[in-house]
Symmetry: C2
């Protein structure tokens, strides 16, 4: 079980994995077409560009953001050619931010594979990220919908803001729950929300935009909160990210905010302060304090609150088979995976 | 004269400086308004973002790209509100690439000031660059012109390709003139060209687009070739970039390509090969070889050829006072500044 203790699967709980697979299967045809659009737009006469891009994008990932964009487009009754361009653009923006994230965080592993910055270098990751971001806008232009471009350029600003905010809270043990939710909303939930909204309006205005946007935003928050909790927990067997990454990078996340608040002695408070100001602290101790105080459970309950908001947002929409699948996925997102 | 030997002014020759000042003065009102648009769009609730952005954008620069965009819009008779958004967007794209460039090149000085990566850090520069890029697209959306967005998203792809190409030629002494021109066209001339074209069509199609695009592309190539030559030459007195940066970074530029070809002995060829494969070589020797063989002059003649093409491109345009100023600036761009 050494592997299980050291790594975790990217997927959250089993019910979530199943719900995501159901969404993928319901949209199989559209997702395949979107993947083709993505591949066709990674091409460049500069060979290193598709090489770096395919290293990341080819390494898998759940394609949650394009799936949400495609589902939203279907529910809104949008033209699917536009929706595919849009879904591909959203995945390229996501890929660009991952490339830059891994440089900024100096990460070595993603989805069980060496990161692009390790394989190709930081410089290459920065520049290919820029290329993917530009390509994403080229794809959006193809939809011919200025509101889509407006939405996603604003969302991209917000994502960078969230990344800088995260950098500012890094190592700061006094980070509050509100500050952390602010980071999560900007850096993660914004792109989920923008994917849903843009999908809904990818061929014109849609009454479904608000509800889908609200669904995706709250789902995104729940998703990130669970992801943060997993970094201190035990993942399913299988290759995935190493656990303890956030701790080693002194990234403030909900389990730490809650554990610091729950600390019983000055010595414990000092442990957390030191761990996040100087780094290089004892991860096993952090994990055991989090376990002792039931923080993992509390963090997941927190996530559950947002999952419930996501589910509720859907009630404003007319019936649609994909609506049920989206509901399923959000409901399962905060399920205790360990 | 120690300062003159160590640093150079960003400005090329005196006639060029005067021509650029003339363009600035002819467009003073529009440029001021554009600067206001830029400032208004650097705002963010995350204070570090305007701080990093203003460190770079406030540090001056000739604003050549927005000036070319504004001049093109005027010549094409475009609506100037759109043109200002567009000119601001072009400058933000330029600023984003500079932030990322300085990270990629590990540069310490730009325009005589410490670079943002030195003052704020690499991570901050990468993320704020992303923010500026996203903001640029937000500004472009305000023009309501999809062809402008199409043009500039494609140009942004090409710029990243050029940066990656440059990374690939770095340290490779066998880089040919053609390869280097390819890099220059993509990483520098493309944004000049896109600024001119987008300016011309910033409120709708224009017959002036082709001529202005061709002017700006060739002007951009001349401008970069002179910039490359200056890195091995003596600049005007005043604070500027240190010279020898390209050499130390093993960046292949025209003077080196020509000097390697002109080498008289195997020992000299070996000197260049070593200098660009291992780095850490004798800059004074490189400079004296370049001087001995009149390479500085040859590189500037090379630039002059492109300046001539830029001037010729303007003949297709109807008479306009700004056309004369643009002609003046291109004609002076390859003037020997030392």
């Amino acid at each position: 079980m050494a592997l299980a203790a050291e790594t975790r699967d990217d997927a959250q709980g089993l019910a979530f994995t199943e719900a995501a697979a159901q969404l993928k299967s319901a949209l199989r045809h559209e997702l395949d077409a979107t993947n083709e659009v993505i591949l066709a737009h990674l091409g460049s006469r500069v060979h290193l560009i598709p090489e770096v891009a395919k290293h990341l994008i080819g390494a898998g990932g759940k394609r949650l953001r394009p799936l949400i964009a495609l589902a939203s487009a279907k529910i809104a009754g949008a033209d699917m050619t536009n929706a595919r361009y849009l879904a591909a653009a959203v995945e390229l923006i996501h890929a660009a931010t991952l490339l830059h994230d891994d440089v900024v965080d100096d990460s070595a592993l993603r989805r069980g594979f060496k990161t692009a910055n390790v394989v190709f270098g930081n410089k290459e990751s920065v520049l290919v990220g820029d290329f993917l971001f530009a390509r994403a806008f080229e794809l959006m232009v193809k939809t011919g919908q200025l509101p889509v471009l407006n939405l996603l350029s604003r969302a991209s600003c917000t994502i960078s803001e969230g990344e800088v905010l995260q950098l500012e809270t890094q190592g700061n043990i006094e980070t509050t729950e509100a500050m952390h939710l602010d980071v999560i909303r900007a850096k993660t939930a914004m792109l989920f929300e923008a994917a849903a909204r843009a999908g809904a309006i990818s061929s014109g205005p849609s009454d479904a935009e608000e509800a889908l946007g609200s669904y995706a935003e709250n789902f995104g928050i729940a998703y990130q909160l669970v992801d943060d909790a997993l970094d201190y927990g035990h993942g399913a067997l299988g290759l995935g990210k190493t656990i303890g990454d956030d701790f080693r990078e002194r990234k403030m996340t909900m389990p730490v905010i809650l554990a610091y608040r729950a600390a019983r002695t000055d010595e414990e408070r000092e442990f957390w302060r030191e761990a996040f100001s100087r780094g290089d602290a004892d991860f096993d101790r952090a994990k055991s304090l989090i376990e002792r105080d039931g923080i993992g459970k509390a963090a997941l309950e927190h996530a559950q609150g947002f999952a419930d908001l996501a589910v509720n947002a859907l009630t404003a929409l007319p019936d649609h088979p994909l609506k049920d699948v989206l509901r399923e996925m959000a409901a399962a997102s905060a399920e205790r995976p360990f």
